[in-house]
C-alpha cells in the first residue's frame, strides 16, 4: 500500500474517532438543550459530570485530523479552506462558544441564573456545530466543490447549502445525539435516569434512520459519485450492509436494555457510517477534482508523519486509556458524590 493510501486511511480513522468521542460530546450538549421532565436537573448534571474530565480531549481528534490533512495532503487543505471558509468559520465560532460556555458554567459561582445562561450558550452551540460539520462533509462528498489547478472555482456558498449537504448535516446531528444518549444510558447511576436516556436513544435512533434514508435518496442527484460508490463498489456495499446490521443490533440491544452492549453496537454503527463515507468517495479527497494521490505531500514527508503518528500513538493511547479508566462510571450512587477540583 502506498504511503498516501495509508495516510488517507489514518485520516479516515481520525474522523471516526472524532465522530465517536467529539460526536458524543456534541450530543451531550444537544440533550442538555432538550432536557425536560421531572429529572431535568439530574439529566443535565449527568451530562456535565460525564463530559467534564474528557471534553477537551474528545475535541483534539479534530485538531489531529486538521494537522494530518495539511501536513499530508496540503493542496486538499488549501482547497477546502477556501471553498468552505464560511461554514468552517461558523463551526469555529460554535466550538469556541461551546467550550468556553461549558467551562464558564463549571466555574461561574454567581448562582443559577448565570448557570442557565452559560448552559443555553453551550447547548445551542452544540446543536449548530454538528449541523455545520455535517454540511461541510456533505459539500466534500457532493462533488460540487470544483478546483481548477490551484483555484477553487465553485464559489463560497452553493456547495454546502445544497439539499444533500443539509441532509448530511441533519444526519450528523441525529447520529451524535444518538451516540450521546446511548453512552449516557451506561453512565447513568439510577434506573429512572437510565430510562430517560434509553427513550432518547431510541428516538434519536429513529431520527438517524430517517436522515440516512434522506441522504441516500438525495445522493443520487446531489452526490452522484457517492451514489455510484454506494451502489456499485462491492466493498462499499459490504460496509453499508455492516452499518445496517450494527444499527439494527444497537436498536435491539437498547430495546432489551443491554446497555453495555448497545454502547458497543452504536459505536460500530457510527464508525461504519464515517468509514462508509470515506470508502464511497475513495480515492477522492475532495470529489471530483482532488485525489489522495494528487494532493499528497512528498513520500519522505508522509513517512516521517507516519513515524511521528506512531510515536504519538504510543504516548496518547495509554494516556487516554488511563483517563477513561479513572473516570469510568462507578456502581450505583457513588458517582454523584465526588466534587470537581
Amino acid at each position: 500500500m502506498s504511503t498516501d493510501a495509508v495516510l488517507g486511511f489514518v485520516l479516515a480513522g481520525t474522523f471516526v474517532l472524532y465522530a465517536l468521542f467529539g460526536g458524543a460530546d456534541f450530543g451531550g450538549g444537544v440533550w442538555d438543550l432538550l432536557s425536560f421532565g421531572p429529572r431535568k436537573a439530574e439529566q443535565r448534571a449527568l451530562i456535565a459530570h460525564a463530559m467534564g474530565p474528557v471534553w477537551e480531549v474528545n475535541h483534539i481528534w479534530l485538531i489531529v485530523g486538521v494537522v494530518l490533512l495539511f501536513a499530508g495532503f496540503p493542496r486538499a487543505f488549501a482547497a477546502l479552506s477556501v471553498a468552505l471558509h464560511v461554514p468552517l468559520t461558523l463551526l469555529l465560532l460554535g466550538i469556541v462558544f461551546r467550550g468556553a460556555a461549558f467551562t464558564f458554567r463549571t466555574y461561574d459561582m454567581r448562582g443559577d441564573a448565570a448557570q442557565r445562561q452559560w448552559g443555553l450558550v453551550f447547548s445551542a452551540a452544540s446543536v449548530v456545530a454538528p449541523l455545520l460539520l455535517g454540511m461541510c462533509v456533505g459539500a466534500v462528498a457532493s462533488g460540487s466543490i470544483r478546483v481548477e489547478g490551484r483555484v477553487v472555482v465553485s464559489g463560497f456558498f452553493a456547495s454546502w447549502l445544497s439539499p444533500f449537504a443539509w441532509a448530511v448535516g441533519v444526519l450528523a446531528l441525529a447520529l451524535f445525539a444518538f451516540l450521546a444518549a446511548v453512552f449516557l444510558t451506561h453512565e447513568a447511576s439510577g434506573a429512572e435516569l437510565r430510562e430517560d436516556f434509553r427513550r432518547r436513544a431510541l428516538g434519536a435512533g429513529v431520527a438517524v434512520f430517517v436522515a440516512a434514508v434522506a441522504v441516500l435518496l438525495l445522493a443520487r442527484e446531489g452526490a452522484p459519485r457517492v451514489w455510484e460508490g454506494l451502489s456499485r463498489s462491492p466493498f462499499a456495499l459490504a460496509l453499508h450492509a455492516a452499518t445496517g446490521v450494527a444499527a439494527v443490533t444497537a436498536f435491539a440491544l437498547l430495546w432489551t436494555r443491554r446497555f453495555q452492549w448497545a454502547r458497543l453496537a452504536a459505536a460500530f454503527q457510527a464508525g461504519l457510517i464515517v468509514l462508509g463515507w470515506a470508502a464511497s468517495q475513495y480515492p477522492y479527497l475532495v470529489v471530483p477534482d482532488v485525489t489522495l494521490q494528487g494532493a499528497a505531500a512528498s513520500p519522505a514527508t508522509q513517512r516521517l508523519l507516519l513515524i511521528a503518528l506512531g510515536v504519538g500513538a504510543l504516548t496518547v493511547i495509554p494516556s487516554i486509556a488511563l483517563l477513561f479508566r479513572v473516570f469510568r462510571p462507578r456502581p450505583e450512587g457513588s458517582a454523584t458524590t465526588d466534587t470537581h477540583g
Partner: protein, 450 residues
C-alpha cells in the same frame, strides 16, 4: 480607514494569536506553579498551599479551556486565511505541528485527570499527572515555536515558483536559531505568568497585609518570576545576535538603523521616520549596537539602505515594539535583582508596601513584553510569510469580505476576555481574609515563608 482584505486577514490572524498567546502562556506556566504548590502542600502539610494549588488548578482549567478553543481556531485559520502558505508549505512544517498536537493531547488528558481526579486517583498519580501537564505544556509551546522559527529563517527545502521541492522535514523543523528562539519563548511564558500571579497576590497583600495565604502564594510566584526575569535578558541577547547575523533587515528595523555604519550606536526609545531616514527623540549610546550585536565596538551593522525598499518591514512599529519589550524586560530584571538581594540579606521574601507596589505595577509587564516581542518577530518578518520565499500578500485567501470574520472574532474575543477576567477576579475574591469562613483554625500570623 480603508482596509484591504489582506489587512483584514492579517488583523484577524494577529488578533487570534495575540489573544491565544496569553492563554497559551498560562497553559504552559500555571501547571508548574500549581504542581509546586501541590508539592509544597504535601511536604509541609500546610493547608494554605493545598488551597493555593486548588485555586491555581481552577485558574488553569479556565485559561486552558479558552486556550484550547482559541488554539483550535488558529489551526483552521492557517488555512482559512493563508491557504497558499499551507497548500505549499503545510507539508514542510507538518512535523512540528503534528508533534505539537501530540503534546497538546497529552496535556489535555492529564489535565483532565489532575482537575477531576483528586478524589479518584492516588496522591502519587495525581502529582504525576500535574507534572505531565507541565511537561507536555512546555513541549507543545516548544514545537509550535519551531514553526515560527521556520517562517523567520526557512530551511530544509528548495524553493521553486510552484512550491518547495526536495523537502527535508527534520531540517526544516530545526531551522537556524531554533534553540535561542524556543528558549526565549518558553522563558517568556513562565515569566509572564509568574509576574501576573505575583502582581495579583501583591495587590491583595496591599489591602490585607496579614493574609498568610497570599504571602505564601507570593512566595511560590516570586522565585520563578525572579529567575526567569534574570535569565531572559541573556537569552534575548543571544536571540538578537542570531537575528543580527541571519535577518539583518529585521535587526535594522528593530534598532532604527537606516544607514550601514561601523560603531553603530544603540538607540533607546525614539520614533523612526522612514521618509527622512532618522530616529527622533532617541537616546543614543555610542557603539552600543555594534557591541551588543557583534561583540565588537567597531563592528559594521547593516542598515536598511542595503535592502530593496519593498522588503522593509514596517520600521516604526518594529522599533517601538522592540523598545517596549526591552524596556519592560529591563524593568522586570531590575525588580528581580532588588527582590533577590532583599531575599538574600533578610532571609525572607519582601513584604513591605513599597515592594508590594513594585510587584503590583510589574504584574502586567510580562504579558506586555510577551505581546511586544511577538509583534517584533511578526512585523519584523513582513512583507514575508516565509522569509525570502513567499510574501504574505501571495498567501492570502481569495475569499472576499474578510472584514466580517475579523469584526466577529474581535467582538467574541473581547467578550471572552472580559468574562475570563471576571471569573478569575471572583476566584481571587473568594480567598480574601474577610471572606474566609470563621473557624477555630489558627490564622498563621506573619510567619516568614521560605
Amino acid at each position: 480607514m480603508f482596509m484591504t482584505d489582506l489587512l483584514y486577514a492579517r488583523a484577524q490572524m494577529g488578533l487570534s494569536l495575540a489573544f491565544h498567546i496569553v492563554f497559551a502562556a498560562a497553559g504552559v506556566a500555571l501547571p508548574v506553579l500549581m504542581v509546586l504548590s501541590d508539592w509544597k502542600a504535601r511536604r509541609t502539610g500546610d493547608s494554605d498551599y493545598r488551597k493555593l494549588s486548588q485555586k491555581l488548578a481552577k485558574g488553569t482549567a479556565i485559561l486552558f479551556a479558552v486556550g484550547a478553543v482559541s488554539g483550535t481556531v488558529l489551526s483552521f485559520e492557517l488555512g482559512l486565511l493563508w491557504p497558499e502558505f499551507m497548500g505549499q508549505y503545510g507539508e514542510v512544517i507538518g512535523l512540528p505541528f503534528s508533534l505539537e498536537g501530540v503534546a497538546f493531547f497529552t496535556e489535555a488528558i492529564f489535565l483532565g485527570i489532575y482537575l477531576y481526579g483528586r478524589e479518584r486517583v492516588s496522591p502519587g498519580l495525581h502529582l504525576f499527572s500535574g507534572v505531565m501537564v507541565a511537561v507536555s505544556g512546555a513541549a507543545s509551546a516548544f514545537f509550535v515555536t519551531l514553526v515560527n522559527v521556520f517562517m523567520n529563517d526557512p530551511s530544509g527545502f528548495v524553493a521553486t515558483p510552484h512550491g518547495p521541492t526536495d523537502i527535508e522535514p527534520l531540517k526544516a523543523m530545526f531551522s537556524p536559531g531554533w534553540l535561542t528562539q524556543t528558549s526565549h519563548v518558553l522563558l517568556s511564558c513562565y515569566q509572564a505568568s509568574a509576574f501576573a500571579m505575583a502582581g495579583i497576590h501583591a495587590s491583595v497583600l496591599l489591602r490585607h497585609p496579614g493574609s498568610a495565604f497570599h504571602r505564601k502564594a507570593l512566595s511560590v510566584a516570586l522565585p520563578l518570576a525572579c529567575v526567569t526575569a534574570l535569565l531572559q535578558p541573556v537569552v534575548g541577547d543571544l536571540s538578537a545576535k542570531h537575528v543580527a547575523k541571519a535577518q539583518p533587515v529585521k535587526l535594522a528595523a528593530m534598532e532604527g538603523q537606516f544607514e550601514t555604519e561601523r560603531g553603530a550606536p544603540l538607540r533607546l526609545g525614539g520614533l523612526p521616520d522612514v521618509e527622512t531616514g532618522t530616529v527622533s527623540h532617541a537616546l543614543d549610546i555610542p557603539n552600543g549596537l555594534s557591541i551588543l550585536a557583534f561583540g565588537d565596538p567597531n563592528a559594521e551593522v547593516k542598515g536598511l539602505n542595503e535592502f530593496p525598499r519593498d522588503t522593509w518591514p514596517p520600521v516604526a512599529k518594529v522599533h517601538v515594539a522592540f523598545q517596549v519589550m526591552v524596556g519592560t524586560g529591563s524593568a522586570m530584571a531590575l525588580l528581580a535583582l532588588v527582590t533577590l538581594a532583599y531575599r538574600w540579606r533578610r532571609k525572607a521574601w519582601p513584604s513591605g508596601r513599597k515592594m508590594m507596589w513594585a510587584w503590583l505595577v510589574s504584574g502586567p509587564l510580562g504579558l506586555v513584553a510577551l505581546e511586544a516581542g511577538w509583534l517584533v518577530t511578526e512585523w519584523g518578518r513582513q512583507p514575508w510569510i516565509v522569509r525570502g520565499v513567499m510574501r504574505t500578500a501571495d498567501a492570502v485567501t481569495p475569499v472576499p469580505h474578510l472584514a466580517a470574520p475579523f469584526w466577529t472574532f474581535t467582538v467574541v474575543y473581547v467578550f471572552l476576555g472580559v468574562v475570563v477576567v471576571a471569573l478569575l477576579k471572583r476566584q481571587v475574591a473568594d480567598t480574601l481574609p474577610d471572606r474566609e469562613p470563621k473557624g477555630p483554625d489558627v490564622k498563621g500570623g506573619e510567619a516568614h515563608v521560605h
